[in-house]
Symmetry: D3
């Protein structure tokens, strides 16, 4: 057992988005419970926990990548929310998505912006 | 003519990577000279020049996206170099590429790391 | 301000699909109003307005590309409709989507055909 | 007419998933009936019918590929069901999807696992 | 044997690019000779031979799609050449590639333009 | 330290392709040595080592996915070789790649077949 990685991973996942993390873990329970453990251990225990890049930049980079790939809508929404949780402004998120128009085209950027609009709406009036 | 956007775009492109920019512009001369102008005006004049996100974060986001997409090797190299030009550390670039293993898989991250290795080697010993 | 590009872009966007364009612009209003302007200026003011390729072929090429990419369903629907607006026949659209089975696989082509079926149904009986 | 390929294709399609196949064929009837014929003839009459690789491995390979591509959700669901029909265990399907986390990232694998969960639920309690 | 499709396919393939077709067929000889037959029969015998869309538009649509996908460089070069063979102008090809900047990003369009430059150079001075 | 995962991962990596694995590890040494460790621990220590799917099927699934994605040529070659190392026949590999023509298009399958041809040639005459 790699309890240290698991504990470190959960702590980091909670910083990013504990509720969304819990929902995914719950959703995996009766299909692939081991994958829930791996999800906590590798992405959050191994990668997100590394020094050398702050959590805000990590989340903006993930929002950029998922916007550009355009085939992972649920995860894009989670990480737009995660970016907010770790302190990114709405403007920073919008800017990073807009920039993807240059690298992955306008449809990718538009779908990213509409995902951001949806997630920001859940925050209520600013 | 949108000279203002063009001038602003060239200035921004020079901040990111003037030499690579010039090479691309030269390469387009006898195939699509208008595209060279559009490349300066829209990505650099319109997008990169916007406030609300610093140039370092913009470049790290682009490195993330191009690593994840995995189908734009020449542009990934240019932006790894561009990230360095605007002040990103080698470590920050390596971290953002490693993180793509989580979102786009290990092959994407490996190919990104080898591109970074190639570009860092051009800098000579640190 | 680049009013000339904006005006030219809106005119061109209206030729392709004014209603869908307006919906997108409206949707962007409270998340990224600047992106609405960029969307009119660059794709429609700069690219679609160029001579050298007629609007029908431009729209069929876009339907082909979005079908092949398979990750931009809302934009595919808009451009299937846009292709009809600029004079493409239903048969031409179906043929270009079917051809994508060769280049991007049968799932991409099937999803494209079902998008076309949905959009053609909105036209009512022919 | 290539009736031999068509007959062979339908027989193979029925082995994989006759009901889903029929639904797709029906759905194509008023948009692209020829494509329904091509879908039976080439993928199922020409490719699936070849010797040298058993049907179980073919279906697991398709589940792997569609999970990794991440842009063909309806077809992924059909082939998760098809893999079950030709004798793959739920565990084999889950393993092949989990493995895609390595090659295409965690979002692709998660979306694949949730598709599997949905399809397995239709089977009722095991 | 589907000799009719094969004969029709070869005739169509020769219209598009007989030499490139022959090279691919030869290259497949000792790895997958059956695939050479399938390549002639399905894409060229079944799809390209259909009425309802002229060969020029088919080739421009393929150039658009392969530029946008960005992961099939050899085939993009073949179809840029094929587009020329069936009567597309250099300008039409350049325009359709430039348009992909909007839908798949600037890197995809740039890599497409450089492929076109390479293929046009083989034609010698115009 | 997770020495158990590391040891188990290296053993599994050696089964798949010890030499290619070592080359990648060496290549990462001066750019991202930690990533070499993660590459052994997560993909090989955590995923490949799981029961429930034999190594031959795992490798064929990876060949399928990398062929379909079309943007990871070096890794596709490694896993074609890996598939051979764990006992897959050349015919099985060719069949799984050919099948990708259906799901990801002919260019993806062709590029996969040519990669297989290259890797099989290194084995010398059979």
């Amino acid at each position: 057992m790699n309890d240290e990685r698991y504990v470190r991973g959960w702590a980091k996942l909670k910083e990013v988005d504990g509720q969304a993390g819990q929902n995914v873990i719950d959703g995996l329970k009766d299909i692939a419970p081991d994958f829930a453990r791996l999800l906590i251990e590798f992405p959050f225990g191994d990668i997100y926990s590394r020094p050398g890049l702050d959590l805000r930049t990590r989340e903006l980079a993930v929002v950029a990548a998922l916007t550009a790939m355009g085939n992972a809508a649920p995860q894009l929404r989670v990480h737009i929310h995660g970016a907010r949780n770790v302190g990114c402004t709405q403007q920073e998120i919008v800017e990073v998505i807009m920039q993807m128009a240059v690298y992955a085209g306008f449809p990718a950027a538009l779908n990213g912006l509409f995902a951001a609009k949806e997630m920001f709406a859940l925050e209520g009036p600013q």
